[in-house]
């Protein structure tokens, strides 16, 4: 921790009882800069457009200090939805260092957001943000990146295998590859100039989706013109397309990147194993299919983090989280045990809990919950 941060914290703690000066002044600063927050970066909404009924594309201009994302990374997007701050991760689908066409000084990032079964966030999204308004972003995160072998060895074939909205990080990578590393030009502009150096790796995009639901088809066509070595296969399982044929020609030396639902990732892995493609040449990012609420007599699965240590637990059915944890020998702070005092409060990182007093189900994302009146409905990540 550097000296300034330390000074800031000590002053804030002594004079204002807050963790930093920023958190003391935050509500005031927000009067001038809407959505200014100490914990996150700010970004202005430049455009908001539905790509499909259930897919929304968001263009954002992050503040200057936002660290540059690498192609393939994602961010946590935070919105204030009816007074409540909600956070979800989304892949960035634009190339790094993309600039705004009108104000070339401003960076732009593009997020492609698919409505999921847990629609609370995504369906509220279009109602609660408007062009010109502000949202919050985390620093870019994630290790799903183009590997050095791809970037530096022009002969390594690159396979990008996507399903559904899994195409988003690949869009970022393809744009990055299509643009010169020297002169970055706005993308999606009609007149994309040919960059000076182009990577020459053979690139295969294998993209499964339901019929008529492939995203960014036009953009992929443009990219294919810029990158003559790019081959795009838009596939539909229902139409008889399968992985075996799609992955034909994938060499052991190929670098394969997989993005899609968890099941899809497994299928691709099987197919690659079958053709003896070595796992160390694979990278994957996958999302679990939405977990359906379990019945009341289901077990409660908890991933618990205590001071950085992680443990997996299975708690008895029909018990509160507080009782369950105690039975496993984990002592949590508590007071009344009837939901009044909030001492048993802890951070739920993800998952759904039922509030036993009101019967209500929680959101999926990060929230404070009271252990003494909560029960896990889906697997949970908790922090004590």
């Amino acid at each position: 921790m550097n000296l300034l941060t330390r000074l800031n914290q000590v002053t804030a703690k002594t004079l204002f009882h807050t963790e930093s000066l920023g958190s003391y002044f935050e509500p005031l600063i927000q009067r001038v800069k809407p959505a200014w927050r100490t914990h996150w970066f700010r970004a202005q909404v430049l455009s908001l457009k539905p790509l499909r009924d259930d897919v929304l594309q968001l263009e954002l201009a992050p503040q200057k200090t936002w660290p540059q994302a690498k192609a393939g990374q994602h961010v946590l997007l935070t919105l204030e939805i009816n007074g409540r701050l909600m956070t979800r991760p989304f892949s960035i689908s634009s190339a790094p260092d993309q600039r705004q066409t009108l104000q070339p000084k401003k960076r732009v990032i593009r997020l492609t957001i698919k409505h999921t079964a847990d629609g609370a966030f995504t369906s509220a999204l279009s109602q609660h943000i408007s062009v010109g308004g502000f949202v919050n972003l985390s620093a870019p995160q994630g290790e799903f990146l183009l590997s050095d072998s791809v970037l530096n060895l022009p002969e390594t074939p690159l396979w990008l295998v996507a399903a559904g909205s899994g195409i988003t990080p690949f869009m970022a990578m393809l744009h990055q590859l299509a643009l010169s590393t020297h002169r970055l030009k706005p993308l999606f502009a009609n007149a994309i100039q040919s960059p000076a150096h182009k990577p020459s790796n053979p690139i295969y995009v294998v993209y499964f989706a339901k019929a008529g639901e492939h995203l960014y088809v036009d953009e992929l066509t443009v990219l294919a013109q810029l990158l003559p070595q790019l081959k795009v296969k838009l596939l539909v399982r229902k139409n008889g397309d399968n992985l075996a044929t799609a992955l034909q020609g994938c060499l052991a030396s190929s670098q394969v990147l997989i993005c899609g639902p968890g099941q899809f990732k497994q299928d691709v892995d099987h197919q690659l194993d079958a053709i003896n493609h070595p796992p160390q040449h694979r990278q994957a990012e996958y999302f679990q299919a939405p977990i359906l609420p379990k019945t009341d007599n289901g077990e409660q699965h908890i991933q618990l983090t205590q001071r950085g240590k992680q443990t997996q637990l299975t708690l008895a059915t029909n018990d509160t989280l507080l009782n369950g944890l105690e039975q496993q020998g984990i002592s949590a702070t508590f007071g009344c045990r009837i939901g009044v005092c909030h001492q048993c409060q802890c951070v739920k990182k993800s998952g759904v809990v039922r509030n036993l007093r009101t019967g209500e189900l929680s959101q999926q994302g990060e929230q404070l919950i009271q252990l003494c009146i909560s029960q896990a409905v889906t697997p949970l990540e908790l922090e004590l």
Partner: protein, 351 residues
């Protein structure tokens, strides 16, 4: 307890009311608490600046003191008390929540939360369990036997009010246990005594350091204006909070309960006890905000984690429910409530 009340029905109606109200909680309430915080910051800084203009005309200083005192009152009551109750936790705000928040008084927020939210709110007015009933200093009902020191308890009360923040700090720490080694059965503390002591001194020390050293020193030659201003602002806040809190629990019609009465209590009976153990104060909107909505002590005790921004709205409905069940709803104008408190303190100073 009154056997003629249908406690289950009462519980259902109050639960419903809470559920219905919570449904509407949202952007308005978040904006409300942020707004109060903005006012608090404004009053605090306005006040601190004006204190230094005392040398131009003392009136500036007076306004400064009042402004700073109001800021401290807002911080203590409407913001601190309610945020520490978890009323705004649903906002998911990294700063405005019961885990992060600490307030501008000598009592460490965490220690307060541990005792107050638990002991006082769970066992409201249960003699022997709710240590807030008389704060271990005052005899306020016949449940306690008379002792000689009760004779001058009105003076003790004045001292307590003047030093209220320190009293609370000492009290919430359960200092008699920590410092004197007194033990009470069945009250295992999960935080050890040395940790409690550390918090007591570190928080209290910070308070003294900032109000009586840092800010006065920053004022340079205006040191005396600032230090006296801070002292008086703290005093005003202490008197105000103490007075409001006493009106909430120690008016003449407030009941006490024995531990036996509360064993195996149902939700309805718990509500009933909260209702009889508290009393409200009538007043205008600003008054309510300055009391941190503890002028709605009854509603606060029924629904301690309902955002304070909703107490004014639920009060008439609570009153209607009570009326239907034949439960008394204790309320009255400030002077009447306060005179009852004074009478109660005086009455029980005699055997």
């Amino acid at each position: 307890m009154n056997k003629n009340i249908n406690f289950d029905l009462l519980a259902n109606e109050l639960d419903d009311l809470k559920r219905q109200t919570l449904k509407d909680v949202g952007a308005i309430d978040a904006a409300y608490i942020r707004n109060v915080i903005v006012w608090q910051r404004g009053l605090e800084w306005g006040g601190r600046a004006l204190l230094m203009l005392g040398f131009i005309h003392p009136l500036w200083w007076v306004v400064g003191v009042l402004s700073l005192a109001s800021a401290k009152i807002l911080d203590n009551m409407e913001i601190g008390h309610n945020v520490l109750h978890g009323q705004y936790d649903w906002m998911n705000d990294p700063h405005i929540n019961s885990r992060q928040f600490d307030w501008d008084i000598a009592c460490d927020g965490k220690s307060w939360q541990r005792i107050h939210n638990y002991e006082h709110h769970t066992y409201t007015n249960v003699i022997g369990k709710d240590r807030d009933f008389g704060y271990g200093l005052l005899r306020l009902s016949n449940d306690f036997s008379w002792r000689l020191k009760n004779l001058w308890q009105f003076i003790t009360y004045i001292y307590l009010s003047v030093l209220f923040q320190w009293g609370i700090s000492y009290h919430e720490l359960a200092a008699e246990r920590v410092f004197m080694g007194k033990k009470k059965q069945g009250r295992a503390s999960k935080v050890n005594a040395s940790e409690l002591k550390r918090r007591f001194f570190s928080k209290g020390g910070k308070q003294l350091f900032k109000d009586y050293l840092v800010f006065p020193l920053l004022a340079g030659p205006l040191f005396l204006w600032v230090i006296s201003g801070n002292l008086i602002a703290n005093l005003l806040r202490n008197l105000w909070t103490s007075t409001i809190i006493f009106c909430g629990h120690f008016t003449s019609d407030v009941h006490t309960f024995s531990q036996a009465e509360c064993e195996n209590e149902t939700q309805g009976q718990w509500y009933y006890r909260q209702a009889l153990g508290s009393s409200n104060i009538l007043g205008g909107k600003l008054f309510h905000i300055l009391t941190g909505h503890l002028s709605f002590q009854i509603e606060h005790h029924l629904f301690p984690d309902l955002p304070s921004s909703r107490y004014q709205q639920v009060a008439p409905q609570v009153q209607a429910i009570f009326a239907r069940h034949g439960i008394a709803y204790h309320t009255g104008p400030f002077l009447r409530q306060y005179s009852q408190v004074v009478k109660r303190i005086l009455r029980y100073s005699l055997p």
